[in-house]
């Protein structure tokens, strides 16, 4: 065997070659460009003449000026991720444990909405949440609107164009990203473990808490990252479902880039956002325990 190692030594590198090249061309190079842009200065608003000169002032007051939108993005994305987890976990669990031979079909149903454009799905919510629509009328009758008002999450007698609608839209749009990884990790669990728990006199709850939940943590971790990260940078939901005070950081970047033609500023905000998200993910990974992730 040792005689053949030499010939095979290169194989792994050749195999990862395409992946590395892909990342290099479509991730590292753009990332570098973004970084250079974020340290450039434009002489004129209208001319496109960014010149690189270590201009840290682009980063200057991002937190001061756009702190509100930044904080809001994390809050909205965080609440949406939690909601996705609360809605998605039982779904994935039920399909994995009780789905039987319909498992594939059931999990396929989760993906079906993806056949429609992201934009259309979001805009459809403006119809569902319309002021005289069924949802608003039901929420009014059941006191949900009053409850939301008491929390200060809405002001008037409506859901559309409020932060609640934005978080709802994020939750709806990113739910499959939570369900699929959860399903994958739950499906891998040997169902006989539950029987074993029962044999050892564990209650249903403690079996879940001590066996199923820890084994599904990689799914929770992957699912919440896949939900939280894109939700933080999303601007479509805030654009269509939000009101006058629910814009997110994605909307700010769009405005800096396309309306104010401040490409360096937009790049700086994007870069900072990336750093903050990376830091948050590292902390999160540490809390959940990285070993769980690789198991």
């Amino acid at each position: 065997m040792s005689t053949r190692v030499g010939g095979r030594r290169l194989t792994p590198y050749l195999l990862v070659g395409p992946g590395v090249a892909w990342l290099g061309v479509f991730f590292l190079v753009p990332l570098w460009n973004l970084f250079v842009m974020s340290l450039s200065t434009k002489r004129s608003r209208y001319d496109f003449d960014p010149a690189f000169r270590w201009d840290w002032s682009n980063y200057g007051d991002v937190f001061g000026t756009y702190g509100t939108q930044l904080g809001r993005s994390f809050l909205f994305a965080g609440v949406a991720t939690l909601a996705c987890l609360v809605i998605g976990y039982p779904m994935a669990y039920w399909v994995a444990v009780h789905g039987g031979r319909f498992r594939a079909a059931l999990i396929g149903l989760v993906i079906v909405p993806f056949f429609t454009s992201f934009l259309l799905r979001t805009i459809s919510w403006t119809v569902l949440l319309a002021d005289d629509g069924v949802i608003v009328r039901a929420s009014r009758a059941s006191g949900v609107l009053a409850l939301l008002r008491a929390f200060g999450w809405i002001n008037g007698d409506r859901l559309l164009d409020t932060p609640v609608a934005v978080v709802g839209g994020l939750t709806y749009n990113f739910l499959p990203f939570m369900v699929l990884p959860l399903y994958v990790s739950l499906e891998k669990i040997d169902i006989r473990l539950l029987d074993a728990c029962g044999d050892l006199y564990a209650s249903g709850w403690s079996a879940f808490r001590r066996v199923v939940l820890p084994l599904s943590l990689p799914g929770v971790f992957a699912g919440s990252l896949l939900t939280f990260i894109p939700a933080t940078g999303d601007f479509v939901n805030a654009y269509f479902l939000g009101g006058t005070s629910s814009r997110m950081i994605g909307n700010v970047v769009q405005d800096r880039f396309l309306v104010q033609l401040d490409q360096p500023g937009a790049a700086a905000i994007s870069f900072l956002l990336m750093l903050v998200i990376t830091a948050a993910v590292l902390v999160y990974a540490r809390v959940l325990g990285t070993e769980e992730m690789t198991s």
Binding site: F48, D49, L120, A130, R158, F240, Q254, D255, L258
Partner: protein, 378 residues
Amino acid sequence: MSLQTSRRRFLGGLAAVAAGGVFAPSLLTACGNDDVGGRRLRVATWPIYIDVEPEGEATLDLFERATGIRVDWNEDINDNLEYFAKIQPTLSAGKAIRSDIIMPTFWMVPRLADLGWLEPLPLDAIPNAKNLLPGLQRPTWDPEGRWSLPWQTGTTGIAYNRKATGGKEIRSIDDLFHPDLAGKVGFLTEMRDTLGLLMLADGKNPQTASVADAERAIERLRKAKADGQIRKFTGNDYQDELAKGSFAACVAWSGDVAQLALENPDLAYVVPEEGGMKWADAMVIPKGTTDLDAVAKFMDFVYDPTNAARITAAVQYISPVQGVREALRAAGGDGAALADSTALFPDAATEKRLYTFRSLSEDEESRLSEAFSKLTGS
């Protein structure tokens, strides 16, 4: 009447996505079908902005038959600022974009001209340019009439939904600030339209107003927003909000509402007592065009009243070409009814109340746009 959907109506939903993928369309057009021989004219314009029926007899077909020049009609423009952001790197580097005629909104014209990104019009080769309506000759945005010929024009006023206003008719801009409409009022993110109307409400003329006047308008909006009077700042998607009744009243564009009202009689459009805004999308020639003769031939063709009337019948905006009304009557059929429409041909009294936002210097634009963005984007 084939195409009832106006271009602005078509945009609403698209704006946001398009913004996400700014560079995609330019890539697509970059690998367009240039391989076919013959002379070609490349036009970048807004969606649904010309007649396409009947096949083989539409304006572009007739133009090709008359001149042998084939037109690549690219619906590349979804939003002025977004389009500017798209062409900026190329023109700024002194290279030619892949269009011979582009159609930005009027206020973009002086900006492009000042940057040196435009070719002057070959007016000698466009005899029909004499058909330009007198009111649009030498406009504030192009005082020498050197750079631009309007493609279509329209007005900005107030639209309202009688069902949502409780049967109340809206007449003035101040009505938008009435407590009865709290939380049911919309304003446009298009800065010049929104601020123009508010300055008119303040007794200022947007054609001559100062930056301080505009800032006062922004301040009034900020207060209204804090009070919960304003529900949302929107782009073209205001039409859905209006039709659904989410907006009882909002700043709106004339052509859109005329068409919406056909389906929903509760909707109405009014040029407010204090006045309304007037806008135009203008044909300009980006620097680097190789076939100026083809450009001139096209402009001359669409400034012929018969051709202009055919376009008007399809897109239903206010035509900048003199003689369109007569040509519509002469053509008969559905078009003849349009000749009597006050939306397409505003009367003299309305015309008097229409203003055009004045040109802003780079500094003024920067100051106002930043303040306005802070208001609409928080």
